[in-house]
Amino acid sequence: MSVHPGAWWVWALVLAGAAAATTNLLVLALLLTAICLVVACCAGDAAPFRLYLVVAAVVVVVRVVFRVVFPAGGGSAVLTLPAVRLGPLELFGTVTAEALLSGLAGGLQLAVVILAVGAAHTLADVLDLLKHAPPALAGVSTALVIAVSVFPSLGRSVVDVRRASRLRGASRRLRGLRATVIPVLEGTMDRSLALAAAMEARGYGSHAATLPVGDSGPSASIRPGEQGAATSTATARSWAQPACVLTAVACVALAAYGLFDSAWPGWSPVVLTVAAVLALGSASRLDRSARRTVYRPRRWTLASTAVVVSAVTSAVLLLVAVPAVIRQPPAVLAPGATSVTALSVLPDLTVLALLAPLVAAVPALFPSLDRWRRS
């Protein structure tokens, strides 16, 4: 069953959103498991996912260590370390269970978001997804396609240059940096020029389809009178479109920030996301003259719908059907609060809170369904 790359990205982003609204350790751990399960079952080559796993683990550890280094108010003490005073800062001291738990929950939240993005990257080729951008956004998507494909070569050239500079003898002085940076920059410059020349020669940005063969040039171009009017609207459009795209990107970034910052009102991520969608929509409406087609477009299959439905069901169950006190246990929510009388390490769980994350793992069944149907 082939799944549209867009479906995987929607699945991942919805799960990331659901995780951002949860601080229950068990629910987060279940979400994490669901994501890893889907990657393990559906990905052909899970190699890129490994890097995300490492990053996620590092994030969790850093968050917990942070809580140990910078103590946060009262709670039940677990460990007392000698306090260190650095000017206005007090480091170490009493480490409370609440602080540790909130650090762990925060780390897990971020880990789910990182792994969700990693899963989407592993399951759906970014290039494949960018291909399906609306034709009007062709300029942006082509630039992204090239950036994504060319980026690995930059890493390789850094490795090559470092290896070559070692041939001249390893010296760890400033020369070492210079010997790396200059050849890499020069090489990058050369490569970009070669790429630009190749794209130019292959007709990127061409209007040749309108040129009759054998014309002698000037006669085929627009007459001077028309040219003025056509150019001014074209210029306005050529400015408006990038502006819309940039607005959309900024809105998405702010929405992501709002999701994690408790000081922002709860409706702000929703409004910003809607604004981003509107900006992208207007960007693609602005210029409909773009002629761009997609080679062998991926079809939106039943499986793609199932993937999206699984994530949306999971998120809705979690946010609507699970009581807030389960989803966001108070001990974790406010690490400084001393009102918690009995703090249990494991938070409470309801049946729905247990089932909701597991619904997101439904796509993991697809490969075995496939095999069953074939036999």
Partner: protein
Amino acid sequence: MIELTDLAFAHTGGRTLFSGLTLALEPGQLVLVAGGTGTGKSTLLATLNGLAPHFTGGTLAGEVRVHGRSTRHVPPRDMADLVGYVGQNPALGFVTSRVESELAFGMEQRGVSPSDMRRRVEETLDLVGIADLRDRALDSLSLGQQQRVALGAVLTAGPRVLVLDEPTSALDPVGAEEVLATITRLVHDLGLTVVLAEHRLERVLPFADLVLHLPGDGTVVCGDPGDVLAGTSVAPPLLRLSEVMGWHPAPLTVRDARRRVRGAGAALPAPAGTPDVLGTPDTGRGAVVLRAAGVRVRYGPREAVRGVDLELRAGEITAVMGRNGSGKSSLLWALQGSGHRDGGTVQVHGVDPATARSRARSLVALVPQDVTSLLFCESVEDECATADREAGLPTGTTSMSLDALVPGIDRGAHPRDLSEGQRLALALAVMLAVPAATLLLDEPTRGLDYAAKDALVRSLRGLAASGVAIAVATHDVELAALLVDRVVLMAEGEVVADGPARAMLTGSPAFAPQVAKVFAPAPWMTVKDVDACRTASAAADHVTDHVTAHVTAHNQALP
């Protein structure tokens, strides 16, 4: 198809590269542009679709018309449906990451309908013979495959003219033959006009209908392949041989030359190819400098080098040959010590260069394939001075040794502005500022013309005579014939054969130089060999007799 009228080109602030070129090319012609480095071959090619001067800058006089469309009025991107252009390193022009999407990219940008696009991609896959590679990632392809994908990517636009800049320079002999077979099929079956520049003329000359020779003085000589190139500095071995043998008109293929040897045998003065005239092989006499045993290199699951044993001797030049990707580079890097090694030992004078750190350079010096990665200063002078400082030598030493390699390099020039040959010489001088016991070179002849190769041969011979052990990874068989004493043949990461150059090169079908192919099974590899034997032969025997004599001798010599 292509009309050039009084064409002249000069780079901004530079000299005129060529002028007064008037020429009309017909459909279905294969035109070869020949000339040394820096004579303007690439620029001439780039004028054909307008990249020069629209993209590169410079001044163009006269006019280029392709199918009636003039590059004066039409930008290069609007020429794409007429002229397909593949640059020197096709991998740098790749835009996507997979073969199929790379072929479709241009059509997607022009808004070709999905059904047409599908059909054209399928046709093109078959046309250039890459249907079995359609799902592969571009960076996993060999250089020859990349070249064919690049050809396919420009063909999907349906051009009438193909412009190719050095399509086979970086390829091993087998990969080059595949690419050339594809090109000739396009010429024969589709009637495309192909204009290509090349340094390895011996590979392309048999297919060319017309040659444009740029001698470097601003003129362009145009004409029949045999006539134009004979006697020039870029003449391939076969043409040099015809000159020595007095053949006229010169044969362009090995097959023709063979017939000439057999047919006109009676009229020829006989080359008496006895080993004492050719010189006995100079192998196995010097002291062992580098001794490697069981060297293994692994990249993930793939084993690039599998247990190689190798000894390099003082004063001996060894060629490491084999297909692209047979593990030559990995072996050299592992020997030097800065590449990784997963098993085995390497000893230079009893020391492992991998653990010798700062001393490693004096044990093994390696000149990598891309020499620009070694050079990081803004001028040649600065580069030489830095090398002197690194080596603790008095200022000017490297500069002097550079003059000994290739004289007259402008000291104020930026290393990237030098020609390939000059840059290689600079890298050699810089690396050898610290005298090394062993010198390794990885593909030194990419982009070198015949004159630069001769200079390289002279300097390496000089170094070998001073007692340095030298190994050169290369698939340039003509260079190997001129330069090396011994050949190590690698395949799949293993050494499959190791022996004196003459026996190895004349005995292998894929790695035989042109002269060896002509006179097989006689042991002559270079024009110089043939010449030496001719002058040495007092008796005017028939060539045919000698050939038979050599067949017997050769068969006896084979194990």
